[in-house]
């Protein structure tokens, strides 16, 4: 079985988000980049499903050379090879077109993504790739099992879950529950350096969405502190002042 795992390179979760002077660009100065946490889950499951010669895991990333450490990390965790589409990831549509183009000429049974990237949070890429390839997609899965030539998945819905059965090929976006992220071991780190990483030039894509400006949420007013026995007063304030109950 051939699995393609899409990975994104995102600011570390402790990053304080700031923008440059006219608020048109994310300020990357001093920002540490990591493999998107949800993509680690997708990758871990792909490795589990192909372990013991049952298949291969290919990493794909749309990004510039600066994101190669993240790709190498994915290889160190256990992917077999990687592809980098050489272009800044302008928006979800741009990324999805590049990945779909690559997937079209390489037969993958499964394409896995993370539930969302923690920077743009679009949750768009999985279903865009699937639509471009005209194959099924399942968004926000919590479980993924293979049974013969089909897969059984559990998808999250508001206040519940849905069990889904689908045949290959398909795209799924993974959330917690699918697998526990794996930590690279020494052997993995050593072998990652020599695993194949090919670089493919990006195709041009029409611009449909343009990120214009950014803003930071306004700071909250000061906090009203209450004593431990003033729960009645709290309820009163929530009712009469904040009007939320």
């Amino acid at each position: 079985m051939k699995i393609l795992v899409c990975v994104s390179n995102v600011p570390d979760t402790t990053t304080k988000i700031t923008f440059n002077g006219d608020n048109t660009q994310f300020n990357t100065a001093g920002v540490q980049y990591i493999l998107n946490p949800y993509d680690e889950i997708a990758l871990a499951r792909a490795i589990e499903l192909t372990e013991g010669g049952k298949g291969t895991v290919t990493i794909i990333h749309v990004g510039e050379i600066s994101s190669e450490p993240t790709i190498r990390k994915a290889l160190a965790i256990g992917a077999d090879d990687a592809v980098r589409i050489n272009a800044a990831a302008r928006d979800a549509y741009f990324v999805a077109v590049q990945i779909a183009d690559y997937a079209r000429s390489n037969d993958f049974e499964m394409i896995l993504t993370g539930r969302e990237s923690i920077d743009y949070n679009g949750s768009q890429i999985a279903s865009m790739i699937a639509e471009l390839l005209d194959i099924p997609s399942i968004s926000i899965i919590k479980k993924l099992e293979i049974e013969g030539n089909k897969a059984n998945l559990v998808r999250e819905i508001e206040g519940g879950k849905e069990m889904i059965n689908v045949s290959f090929p398909f795209v799924a976006s993974c959330a917690e529950g699918v697998a526990e992220p794996k930590i690279p071991n020494m052997r993995g780190i050593m072998s990652a350096r020599t695993k194949p990483l090919i670089v493919v030039e990006a195709s041009s894509v029409e611009l449909l969405v343009d990120f214009k400006t950014y803003a930071i949420p306004a700071p909250r007013g000061s906090v009203t502190m209450l004593a431990a026995d003033e729960t009645e007063k709290l309820i009163d304030l929530l009712h009469s002042k904040s009007k939320v109950i």
């Binding site: 304080k16 988000i17 994310f26 946490p37 979800a92 549509y93 999805a96 923690i118 920077d119 949070n121 679009g122 949750s123 768009q124 999985a126 279903s127 865009m128 639509e131 099924p136 997609s137 399942i138 968004s139 926000i140 059984n152 999250e156 819905i157 508001e158 206040g159 519940g160 849905e162 069990m163 889904i164 059965n165 689908v166 917690e176 029409e206 611009l207 449909l208 969405v209 343009d210 990120f211 950014y214 803003a215 930071i216 949420p217 909250r220 007013g221 906090v223 009203t224 502190m225 209450l226 431990a228 026995d229 729960t231 009645e232 709290l234 309820i235 929530l238 904040s242 939320v244 109950i245």
Partner: protein, 325 residues
């Protein structure tokens, strides 16, 4: 021209977030001086469909078909795109639900439309520019995106737009789409719904607790407080990682982002990753025994105290409040 809104149903009923998205789409239709059309797929009763008119839909396209009873994003996307083409819709709006995340990107690709997900406000429309404000960086920031394409798709975050009733009454029309068999390659074998619980993503009130609760056996008071208030329950990441609570309750940067009217955080320190997913809550109450806990810096109300003393007392205060109001 028109604006099209997809109205997702849960077991034949519309949730509040759907009336919100209809109100929102109606306001966009007004901005564009055109009409709002709603499309419903699945089996929803006439009365429930008629309710959409109250929020500004001048017409409801009703697609009811046994094959479409349960959600298949490929088929639903084909139908929405077909309706958009038939009605000459320039803007298609959906509520940003779990299902919409599988649906909206497909609709956008079919119509070659730009997609703005997680919108939190009405578009700013100036001459030819169409700008949408959305959340980004897991709630740590907002981004304003321009949708350049002729057709635009927007998903609206729940609890971001006020319901607005209008006098108009919509008419319901049956719509028979010509979907393809190949759109049905996923099969739902079972749906499990915890019907007695309020779903976190669209909850207006949330009671959340963290590692300060010490262990899963102490969640009874959290659940009691939530149920008294009519709130959903949530938790911090280490709590769900440890299996004290299910994953779907985990909020924050790598969990669900929520923006309820009230978020009560009990025994949660307020780490940056936790705050990312909850800081757009309208009112935040923090209960923590450590006066230095970072969460107090972003709270509206704070109580320094032991949760095991404060929460039972709070429960009594809520009961007292409920008995008089």
């Amino acid at each position: 021209m028109s604006v099209l809104v997809y109205v997702e149903n849960a077991d034949g009923k519309f949730k509040k977030s759907i009336f919100e998205v209809v109100s929102y789409a109606a306001a966009i239709a007004e901005q564009l001086k055109t009409e709002l059309i709603a499309i419903s797929i699945g089996s929803v009763g006439k009365d429930e469909l008629q309710n959409l008119g109250k929020f500004g839909a001048s017409k409801v396209l009703n697609v009811s078909n046994d094959q479409l009873k349960s959600f298949v994003n490929q088929a639903y996307a084909s139908i929405i795109a077909e309706a958009a083409e038939k009605e000459g819709s320039k803007v298609i709006v959906l509520s940003n639900s779990f299902s919409a995340k599988g649906l909206a990107p497909r609709v956008a690709i079919k119509l070659k439309a730009g997609l703005a997900d997680s919108a939190i406000d009405l578009p700013e429309i100036e001459n030819d520019k169409f700008l949408i404000k959305k959340t980004a960086f897991s709630g740590k920031a907002f981004a304003t995106v321009e949708l350049i394409s002729a057709i635009k798709v927007i998903t609206l975050n729940p609890n971001s737009y006020q319901l607005k009733e209008t006098a108009a009454a919509g008419k319901v029309e049956d719509f028979t789409p010509k979907f393809k068999e190949s759109d049905f390659r996923t099969m739902i074998t079972e749906i499990v719904r915890a019907s007695d619980k309020i779903a976190l993503p669209d909850a207006e009130l949330v009671v959340s607790a963290g590692r300060g609760m010490k262990g899963p056996e102490n969640w009874a008071m959290i659940e009691e407080l939530a149920s008294l208030l009519g709130a959903a329950t949530a938790c911090s990441k280490p709590v769900s990682d440890a299996g004290w609570r299910p994953h779907e309750e985990h909020v924050g940067q790598t969990g669900i982002a929520v923006s309820p009217n009230l978020y009560i955080a009990i025994g949660i320190s307020g780490a940056i990753q936790h705050l990312a997913g909850v800081s757009s809550s309208k009112t935040i109450v923090v209960i923590n025994k450590d006066p230095e806990a970072p969460f107090f810096k972003v709270a509206d109300y704070g109580i320094v105290g032991d949760a095991f003393v404060v929460v039972p007392q709070l429960i009594e205060s809520v009961k007292a409040y409920k008995s008089i109001s």
